[in-house]
Amino acid sequence: MINLRGLTKRYGDKVAVDALTLDIAPGSVTGFLGPNGAGKSTTMRMILGLDRPTAGQALIKGRPYAELKHPMREIGALLDAKAVHPGHTARTHLTAMARSNGIPVSRVDEVIETVGLTEVAGKRAGTFSLGMGQRLGIAGALLGDPEIVMFDEPVNGLDPDGVRWVRDLMRALSAEGRTVFVSSHLMSEMQHTADQLVVIGRGKVIADAPIAEVIATSSVNAVKVRTPRAHELAQQLAVTGARIDRTAENELIVTGSTIERVGEIAHQIGALLLELSPRSASLEQAYMELTAASVEYGAPAPPGAADRADWSDHNGADQRQKEQV
């Protein structure tokens, strides 16, 4: 259990983390999402006592990190792969960590094997690839067999095999009842691994809910209708305040309404329905929408981007026919 209470970090005038209050529950994977510069890493560093909060506090099982006698037995963290001295071998690095936290040295070879670095355990970390560095960092996080694990962008630099391995690892850790708190800016990654989502932008919580709920509350949820009387139906729907995109001759995408309402109106005008289906947004879309206002270093949209529909199963021909009603 990690509890953040009004956690705040200011650098001069700039607020990096703005009064975050969060409870990160055990037994699930909590995804921590936000655009670059949203304050994810700063929050994680404050949880570990590396950065001092300007206000508020971060508690691990009810206590600040610095008060934990053997912190690695409570919470294991991968902050970034660059927290290893390149002159140390993987084994030296982990042995030093183990000794400092009263962890039996026999555990070192266990975690080295868990992350698949057995063959290079005696090599200097400076010779490691980015992916091997990530694995070494994960080995360090698992060393104390902690109840809580916290990973900052764990799949950075990993090949597809490695990405899958990290995903399985996080699922396995949470299945064992551990608290898994993982940051990422890759939405697709979170969709596969997280149960719970915390989305932050400009240091503030934008969403804190189960992943399905975050997607469901997104306004990009829509209804797809195919009917020969598309034009007429669109006119009727527009009266109710729904927003309609005519994506093909006989096809409408309706947002701001419900599937029941669309069916009811179609029935009223006696339109033949060839298709009536819910369209759920991907997490990527929900996320883009949530954070649209808080992207710190946004680039202007490329010309024509605004015209392109988000609906992933439309081909280009459909999009060219798209007509705003």
Partner: protein, 263 residues
């Protein structure tokens, strides 16, 4: 890198605590220091330079017809150059961690900043003590070997070996404190050179009374007294206190900054 099969992380039994605490922090610091090539390079260079300088010095003195000098006669001079290898080792102990980012691992495994710095201080002191004592011993053995064994006195050997060891510890801790404050290897080594070499040199060049007084209390002057066993401008107890004061001031400054700073 081949992916491992389904990850299993759960242990069948809880991990029993073994050690940890400050003893664990000490063990970790020793493992880290021991595991770096630069550590052994610095210690090796310190000893090799000391032996070389001692040999050259005694040989020159013998050539000039001086024999039977005290075994400790050259030691204050012998340590002056080799100490910079030891200073580099002391700087790297903390600035090397800042340069590589591994300071974040150190401070997450030992989150109490005071304990983390103290553990480094203890391990560094032991290494400096041993290296300094070996420098004193080498210098005495070479002097005896080359120039004869007329001048072996207990007091001389105590100052030569014990004094060099104590001086090395004080200078190393001064560097550690400075490194904790400055975080950069270059800045730490350059500042140390300015203090150790710069103060006496400037005082000699300028000859100003105030500067001369400052120079008398520099680590170098105090070290000369402590290692040489002389009584000018003060005796060895004062010299030891001067060195302790330099070390404490730097470590206190380093701790004050380390404690409140984001890592």
């Amino acid at each position: 890198m081949a992916a491992t099969t389904a990850p299993t992380t759960a242990r069948t039994r809880p991990v029993p605590a073994q050690g940890g605490g400050f003893g664990g922090a000490l063990a970790a610091e020793w493992i880290k220091l021991r595991g770096l090539r630069s550590t052994w390079t610095c210690i090796g260079l310190t000893l090799a330079m000391a032996a070389g300088i001692a040999l050259l010095g005694t040989y020159t003195m013998v050539q000039n017809g001086m024999t039977g000098m005290d075994a400790n006669a050259l030691t204050p001079t012998v340590i002056m150059i080799p100490q910079f290898a030891l200073i580099t080792l002391a700087a790297l102990l903390i600035t090397g961690e800042y340069a590589t980012g591994s300071i974040r691992t150190t401070l997450t495994t030992v989150p109490r900043r005071g304990s983390a710095l103290a553990a480094k201080g203890v391990i560094l002191s032991l290494v400096a003590l041993t290296t300094g004592a070996l420098v004193g011993l080498l210098s005495a053995l070479i002097t005896i070997g080359v120039a004869g064994s007329d001048g072996i006195t207990t007091a001389g050997l105590t100052h030569g070996i014990g004094g060099t060891a104590a001086y090395s510890v004080a200078v190393s801790l001064f560097v550690l404190g400075l490194g904790a404050a400055l975080r950069s290897t270059a800045g730490t080594v350059a500042t140390t050179i300015a203090v150790v070499m710069g103060i006496p040199m400037i005082a000699t060049l300028v000859g100003n009374e105030v500067l001369n007084t400052v120079s008398e209390y520099s680590p170098t002057s105090a070290g000369m007294v402590l290692i040489g066993g002389g009584a000018d401008p003060y005796g060895w107890p004062v010299a030891l206190m001067v060195l302790v004061a330099w070390a404490c001031a730097a470590v206190a400054a380093g701790y004050a900054l380390l404690r409140g700073r984001d890592a």
